[in-house]
Assembly symmetry: C2
Homo-oligomer: 335 residues x 2
């Protein structure tokens, strides 16, 4: 069978069976943003890994090596943030083509170093090997979270409100601008969106606040909102209803989308790499959560609610029509 | 500057500066087989990672996907064994070319699963991405070791005896046989050596015994004995004198080397991937260590001693001549 016949999620389901030898040490294994592991003391250990491949996850045609380093760290920290924890220690594996110079690798590590300092984590080891064609970077990252405070994808309950932090689609707009450098646009706007794409930041502070507040489910928006909602609904055994007009999309994203002839909601739902947090909270907790985030300078927006599984995943358009959210996600269905 | 001008060790030295943001949490950072990290409770946390690239670390021309999985796990477990600890949790990143089938990836994971069970560790997460040309596998592995019992490369003292477990050169002989399948040889011998190369096992039991016995320095033989001795001597600020005739080399390795027209000691010193343990112990501890290993069915051999740094790294040949060990390591200097 071809890998493309099974797809990424089918493959992961197939591979992740029977991998736990000592279950008493594992709180939560494969299937969330990070594994949750028992430790002595007040904290659980979080463990996650992400591999970035040149030409697949980044291009050195428009990203500097330092930006690739920053992105590698942020992608992993975002997984720790989505569990409600904080990052502590990472190990970096580099597969290096010989066409890269020592200065390129220095710069890559400069990006890793800068991001590690920003997130307060240590890089404690690594491996450096030859990778003839493509630069490959793997970061494996440890974090901590207070016992009982890890936030899973599986905790959403019918009636919970559905939220997203920040705004969506900026990374997709930035990628479009990287790929279309001749687009006529305010240079400040273009530079801002490109930087959001090339140097993403994880929502670590928001994740900590949401974990302490006790939100019921959380995921980071790495693969686009539609994919993350599918993950939460699947893991929680629920459906959801999302209001299109409440999806937060920055006006600068709308400007680029208009020039590109795209629907900015497509970027929000399918673009991915925004590294915002999507989460659910019972209505009674909503004001508390909003206030706590606002007090820390973080923002969130209620975009819908959790429904029974049999209602499916539904998008409510501005004119009141309801369409399946799946359709939007995969088929770039126009509203 | 080209990467080849600096070399792997020069590059690692250059990159590993200024990567610790929170030093109070780190017992030992970059520079040993695994990082050693503070935890509450009786144990330290060990953290290591290794990346294997198709065509660089393995070839699917003669390794099955399951063997690649076994090797990936063993390489990492060997790093934990060399610190004196035991492995607990791993996360696997796979970069997959689309030419691989689902069955190939199943088989790869079957190897990972089998090795994980054998070593008693959990695979708790991973990442699966596209890698157009080459299969890339990264395992990041956590282990534990009793506080104060981690064995570093830096602990060797002048007068310590130098030991190696098992025997050396089997993996290099096995690789030679994989690359020269038409060599006329007893099929049982050929199959044995090929399997040693393709399905290496980490010396986990020996590492635990040696850590509990309190040996002074330890490393696993992943890059050949010469390279590991350099690591220990450099980290400990000492020299060493190794007796060529005491280097344990299996008679089957000698047979293959004779057919290949190679010196089996070259394979022992430079071949690598034997995943034996090289360690140092004060003379007063020697008998205790040998007895403890023997009682567990493990073997070791005294191959020399630790000397002052100014004596350098010296190989004593069978005829009594002394030659620099470095020369042997890098230039395949004939004895």
């Amino acid at each position: 069978m071809k890998l493309s016949d099974l797809g990424e999620f089918g493959l992961i389901d197939r591979l992740s069976r029977d991998l736990i030898t000592r279950p008493a040490e594992v709180v939560q294994g494969i299937g969330d943003d990070a594994a949750v592991l028992h430790l002595e003391g007040p904290w659980w250990l979080l463990f996650t890994t992400d591999m970035l491949v040149e030409g697949v996850h980044f291009s050195l045609d428009y990203a500097t090596p330092a930006q690739v380093g920053i992105k590698t760290v942020s992608v992993n920290v975002s997984d720790i943030a989505a569990m409600g924890g904080w990052p502590v220690h990472g190990v970096v594996s580099l597969g290096l083509p010989t066409r890269l110079s020592v200065e390129d690798v220095d710069e890559l590590y400069q990006g890793i170093r800068r991001a590690a300092k920003e997130y307060g984590l240590n890089i404690v080891g690594g491996d450096t090997v030859l990778s003839p064609e493509r630069l490959v970077i793997n970061l494996a990252l440890l974090g901590f979270v207070e016992k009982g405070r890890a936030v899973y994808r599986s905790g959403a309950r019918v009636g919970d409100l559905l939220y997203v932090t920040g705004s969506l689609g900026k990374s997709a707009a930035g990628l479009y601008l990287c790929q279309h450098p001749d687009l006529t646009l305010d240079p400040g706007v273009a530079a801002f969106l490109r930087q959001v794409h090339l140097e993403p930041r994880a929502r670590l502070t928001a994740g900590r606040i949401l974990s302490c507040a006790g939100v019921t489910a959380m995921d980071d928006v790495s693969d686009g909102l539609a994919a993350e909602l599918r993950e939460i609904c699947r893991a929680s055994g629920v459906g959801c209803r999302v209001r299109a007009q409440d999806i937060p999309v920055d006006s600068r994203v709308k400007t680029v989308a208009a020039l590109a002839g795209c629907d900015p909601l497509d970027w929000a739902f399918c673009g991915g790499e925004d590294f915002e947090l999507v989460f659910t909270a019972p209505p009674g907790m909503a004001r508390h959560v909003e206030e706590k985030l606002a007090a820390a300078g973080e923002d969130c927006r209620c975009i819908g609610e959790i429904t029974p599984a049999e209602k499916g995943m539904v998008l409510e358009l501005a004119d009141g029509r309801l369409i399946p959210l799946e359709a939007r996600g995969y088929d770039h269905f126009a509203s």
